[in-house]
């Protein structure tokens, strides 16, 4: 294989592996910036993956599948919101619980409806988000590195990939340039001040977690009906937690979130590529090392060795209006 092929192939799979992380980490950003810890990203992703696969199977439309995924993800978000905003329960416990519920419920329902051990039936290509070929991609493939890059990285991705990269600047704009964004950042730092200004802390936080559910719906849908053609047991496989790590690694900021997700996606792609191969000087590096690397990097960052990561001050604390 040519070096160019390897590099382009790796970049392509980096993009594909980063997309669910980007959506999920941006979802976490809204939730955590409003002061609600969200360990349940993983569960939301899984539940929406299942819902999108089921809806796409019955309707034959990927867009309705996406809608189903978003709907279920928002329902999970609202349960989390009810527990942590209205009932003032422990946000971490609520997230852990929802992850358990999603892991169990998806397989139980899948098994009862389709009898394939929790899997959903294989989808036809018309019910999926398939690759979009850009004009001139075929011709460009033969034209050196940039041509190949255009043909296999820029072109030939599904619509959700492009949506993810459009979402990043939109999120940046919402968080930093709108009134809602200002209030969102304020409520995660000092809800008391927001309340004093006459703005409802509760409604603001509910809106934040609904947006989180909305974005998680995209990542779950991407897993089930864009990257693959059916729902598989536990197909999120810890990606929700990696996204959480990426969010922290990016210090809760939208543009860095994208780069952190691309970095973690690249590590994933690189470890797939390196499986069974040996590196110069160090020999064969175990695949587990690459799997652990995102978490190790995040811990090193948290330790304050690469800048400082300061979480929103009011994160994890339920807001009580009066005592």
């Amino acid at each position: 294989m040519h070096t160019v092929d390897i590099i382009v192939g790796m970049l392509g799979s980096t993009i594909r592996l980063s997309i669910p992380l980007i959506f999920t980490a941006l979802a976490g950003l809204f939730s955590e910036r409003s002061g609600i810890f969200d360990i349940g990203l993983e569960g939301k992703m899984l539940a929406s993956a299942f819902a999108s696969a089921v809806v796409a199977y019955y309707t034959g439309s990927p867009w309705l599948g996406l809608l189903g995924g978003i709907g279920v993800s928002i329902i999970f978000s609202l349960v989390h919101g009810y527990a942590s905003i209205t009932a003032r329960g422990n946000q971490i416990v609520s997230g852990v619980a929802l992850n358990f519920v999603a892991a169990g419920l998806t397989v139980v329902l899948g098994n009862a409806w389709f009898r394939q051990g929790g899997r959903t039936p294989q989808l036809a290509n018309s019910a999926r988000f398939t690759e979009i070929e850009f004009p001139g991609a075929d011709a460009a493939r033969e034209m050196g590195f940039f041509g190949k890059f255009y043909a296999e990285v820029i072109s030939g991705q599904n619509i959700l990939v492009y949506l993810a990269f459009i979402t990043v600047p939109i999120v940046w704009w919402v968080v930093y340039k709108t009134r809602f964004g200002l209030r969102l950042r304020a409520v995660g730092e000092n809800p008391g001040a927001v309340d004093t200004a006459g703005i409802s802390v509760i409604w603001l936080r509910y809106r934040a977690i609904i947006i989180a559910g909305f974005l998680c719906g995209f990542s779950g849908t991407y897993l089930a009906i864009a990257q693959s053609a059916s729902f598989i047991n536990n197909m999120s496989a810890g990606k929700g937690y990696i996204a959480l790590a990426a969010l922290i690694f990016a210090k809760w900021k939208p543009i860095p979130v994208m780069f952190a997700c691309l970095l973690f996606g690249f590590l994933d792609a690189f470890s797939n590529f390196m499986q069974g191969k040996s590196m110069p000087l160090v020999g064969e590096v175990p695949v587990q090392f690459f799997q652990a690397l995102p978490y190790i990097l995040t811990c090193v960052l948290l330790a304050g060795f690469i800048g400082t990561a300061r979480p929103p001050k009011a994160g994890g604390i339920p807001y009580t209006k009066e005592r």
């Binding site: 852990v96 009862a112 811990c299």
Partner: protein, 370 residues
């Protein structure tokens, strides 16, 4: 008076509320069972019968409960210092390494009762070591312990898979696990305990770890409520600033508490690694660390409560296994979901019924006074 902090009788807080929460979780589970076309009442009876209907069922129930006692105590220990340790899962996993290394070194030379104390130490030290870095980061660098312990769960899982696949697996073996332990590395079953009640344990792996778990319940209670160190832990949990002002060293207390928490989680490995599987296997913890969070919350962070909550989850586990056997439509995943609902209602939504209960009981009180 504000409904949120109005006092309630003890039995309401400690028994009625958890019971109502549990009932709600089961109600929703029953609804899901009904939705997939099965009879929820039959399922409940199969579940209870499977968990408590025979000596073997009880043996399995208590075996699972033993796991949750250790992880529940681990979470509670940290919680008293105001620390939220969700890394019990990883600490138990790494604790298994300490336990297995001791068993592999000694099993062919000495009887189990010589191996056991070293295995307890090994499991506790390795579990504690895995809690040390998050604890140090929290104490010295202010990194949020919730986040670092999550990260360490994953780092631990990767480390253990690597060690099992590349280092500990005997040459030529297929599955990623250590060799089986000889008799000196196996904890004996508690047949005699069952015989005392005129029942038989059968193949259930209930073992000496259960008794160690009970001892640790007492030890944790004594440590938290009857020692100077326990006092400083609780003071820290109430208010960091007040505790620091009173001269309690923050960093040292945090680190020692987390080491104990990690050690307790690590000791869970004894029950599975030496008590049942007799080898170290991939993913042997199987979520017990996360269930520990629910157990600790439901048990109001008190060892007695933890013991009861652990038995409850033991019933769910064993009953669930029986359920998937007797009613094949209801797979083990149903139990994962029921666990999730129990954690949700007993943990995150624990005060769901509190306002209503306050209304009921304050009215009764005012009537009694009039």
């Amino acid at each position: 008076m504000n409904a949120a902090n109005a006092p309630l009788p003890g039995w309401v807080t400690f028994f009625l509320m958890p019971l109502l929460n549990l009932g709600t979780a089961l109600l929703i589970s029953g609804f899901v069972i009904w939705m997939i076309g099965q009879n929820p009442f039959e399922a409940l009876s199969v579940l209870l019968n499977g968990a408590l209907g025979s000596g073997m069922g009880i043996g399995f129930t208590l075996f699972y409960a033993t796991n949750f006692i250790f992880t529940g105590l681990s979470v509670a220990m940290a919680y008293h210092a105001g620390l939220f340790n969700i890394g019990s899962e990883g600490q138990a996993y790494v604790g298994g390494l300490g336990c297995a290394l001791v068993a592999l070194a000694l099993d062919q030379y000495v009887p189990w009762y010589v191996t056991m104390p070293f295995a307890i130490l090994g499991a506790a030290i390795f579990g504690a070591a895995w809690a040390f870095i998050p604890a140090w980061l929290q104490a010295k660098r202010g990194s949020h312990i919730v986040i670092t312990t999550i990260m360490f769960n994953f780092i631990g899982a990767a480390l253990m898979v690597y060690l099992l696949v590349h280092v500990l697996k005997p040459a030529g073996a297929m599955s990623p696990e250590t060799r089986g332990f000889a008799a000196g590395g196996q904890l004996p079953n508690l047949d005699w305990l069952m015989a005392m009640f005129g029942s038989r344990l059968g193949p259930a792996p209930l073992n000496v770890s259960f008794i160690i778990g009970l001892v640790m319940c007492f030890a944790v209670w004594f440590l938290i409520w009857r020692t100077k160190f326990g006092y400083s832990v609780r003071a820290l949990g109430m208010s960091k600033t007040a505790a620091t002002y009173a001269g309690i060293p923050y960093a040292r207390t945090v680190i020692i508490t987390m080491l104990m928490s990690g050690g307790l989680a690590g000791m869970m490995a004894l029950n599975v690694v030496m008590g049942s599987a007799d080898r170290l296997q991939v993913e042997f913890v199987g979520g017990a660390g996360f269930v520990g969070i629910a157990v600790s919350l439901m048990g109001r962070n008190h060892p007695l409560g933890i013991l009861m909550a652990a038995i409850l989850f033991g019933i769910l586990y064993q009953g669930g296994a029986q359920l998937s056997f007797m009613m094949p439509q209801i797979t083990r995943d149903m139990i994962v979901m029921i666990q999730g609902l129990v954690i949700l209602f007993a943990g995150a939504l624990e005060f769901l019924y509190r306002p209503a209960l306050v209304r009921i009981f304050s009215r009764r009180q005012s009537l009694a006074e009039a």
